[in-house]
Symmetry: C2
Subunit: 246 residues, 2 copies
DNA sequence: TCACCTCTTTGGTATAGACCAGATGCGAGG
DNA sequence: CCTCGCATCTGGTCTATACCAAAGAGGTGA
């Protein structure tokens, strides 16, 4: 930040601090390589305390302008990824169509008893075991979503032998000759906690968007259930009934 | 409990302030007709400072357990309203089907130039005037959503003479013989600011869910555009392709 | 009855420190 | 070359206190 902009900021009210940071961000004075200076440094520059500064940063975070990675620092948010949960196009293709670059990491793939609510969604008795595949995805190198898939062990007997870092959609089609049919999903604003927070490198309690989706094949048989946890500033849900819903 | 873990217990109370409040909420010790004691009283009760206490309350707020009304206090959240933006059932009926009670307040109904992005969505040149209807809705007496409707002045010439506290869906059908056709919408997690925050009685910067919807009639003509701002803990979006999309 | 004013209570913002814990980079030792 | 451990960064949490501004209660006067 230049001496000028520091001088411009003379009033001490909270809103002006937030506005000052907003302006400096917009004009690219603050961030170097999308990364903001440390909180201590910012507090000094704006002649305020870390508590007050963090309050302002939290507001900008909620507004989707910046985000933080746990104990790593603050960063400037990129544009949102447009996402239609009714489409089962694979993630790579979806991001490519938006001129973004995506990657997927496999966290685990095991057999496990699903929680009761998931069993209910999958129309199986509580305590049923499913394949549990946990992955996380990046867009332009930023961690944006943590996904937990629950798959029928009967239908996908040998899924663990497949490459699970790619598209499950394609795997279903190519290895199991399954095409998607109906879908249902639920979107909830939630706090990211536990594993979703850890894997996304954000602190416990960060705001996120949870999307729970149940996928069926053409015969109406339930195939799997995905539970996605998105960084809230990284995604925009968009649905249009004029699009065919395959 | 072993001696080791007892030792650990005395060293660091693994029951954090947040968890303590969480327990008190769950067991009904804290909620007195859904309102929490003042921050000062809570801080005293939990032997901590207001800053720390507010941090904990913010976490619970993000998690959707409690919410605040600007300078009025903290309240315990009720269950979420299930909402399908593809359905144009009127609000009253939707809430009744979930055993909730709804009400709508008209804030203003005027002719006004719509912002550029809204004009673009409505496929009209920038600077076009529309009817602008602003309303807010309550569920079980809690303010949950602020809505801004932009309607074609040509199609709805005399809409200001109608009762605008009721269902616009019904008005379209009964007074204008219009049925809904295709819909498209966009969901974004945002910070509530300005009018949306003021009208919802929440402080500037509170986290919310924005839903922008464009409605068409059966011939594909654009009817209107709704911009909704929801309190994040009050709504759950649910969509199922097996439901008919009228 | 009702508009208006005032006083109290509430959350909202701010100061100035301090220590903790995870992330990271670097250097020493294998 | 690689690994391990330590020093030093970062944000995360905390104490203690103060004043401000809006909301709400209650009283006052037309």
């Amino acid at each position: 930040m230049t001496a000028d902009s520091a001088n411009e900021f003379t009033k001490r009210s909270f809103l002006t601090l937030e506005q000052a940071i907003r302006n400096d961000l917009a004009e690219g004075r603050l961030a170097v390589d999308r990364r903001l200076p440390s909180e201590r440094e910012l507090a000094e520059r704006y002649r305020t305390t870390r508590i007050t500064l963090r309050e302002a940063l939290s507001h900008l975070e909620m507004d989707g302008l910046i985000y933080r990675e746990n104990r790593r620092g603050w960063f400037v948010s990129d544009r949102r990824l447009v996402y239609n949960p009714l489409w089962r196009t694979d993630f790579q293709r979806m991001t490519r169509e938006q001129n973004r670059q995506a990657s997927t990491e496999l966290i685990e793939a095991v057999s496990a008893v699903a929680p009761d609510d998931i069993c209910a969604l999958l129309e199986q008795p509580s305590g049923t075991e499913f394949w549990r595949i946990r992955r996380r995805r990046r867009v332009d190198d930023r961690l944006v979503v943590f996904v937990e898939h629950h798959l029928s062990k009967a239908v996908f007997a040998d899924i663990l032998e497949q490459d699970l870092t790619g598209s499950l959609t394609n795997l279903y089609r190519e290895k199991y000759a399954l095409e998607y049919g109906d879908v249902s999903f639920e979107i909830n604003p939630v706090a990211l906690t536990g594993m979703s927070a850890t894997e996304l490198h954000c602190s416990d309690g960060t705001f996120g968007l949870q999307i729970v989706r149940v996928n069926r094949d053409q015969t109406g048989r339930i195939l799997d259930c995905d539970v996605e946890y998105w960084r809230h500033d990284a995604v925009s849900i968009r649905i249009d009934t004029r699009d065919s819903i395959p």
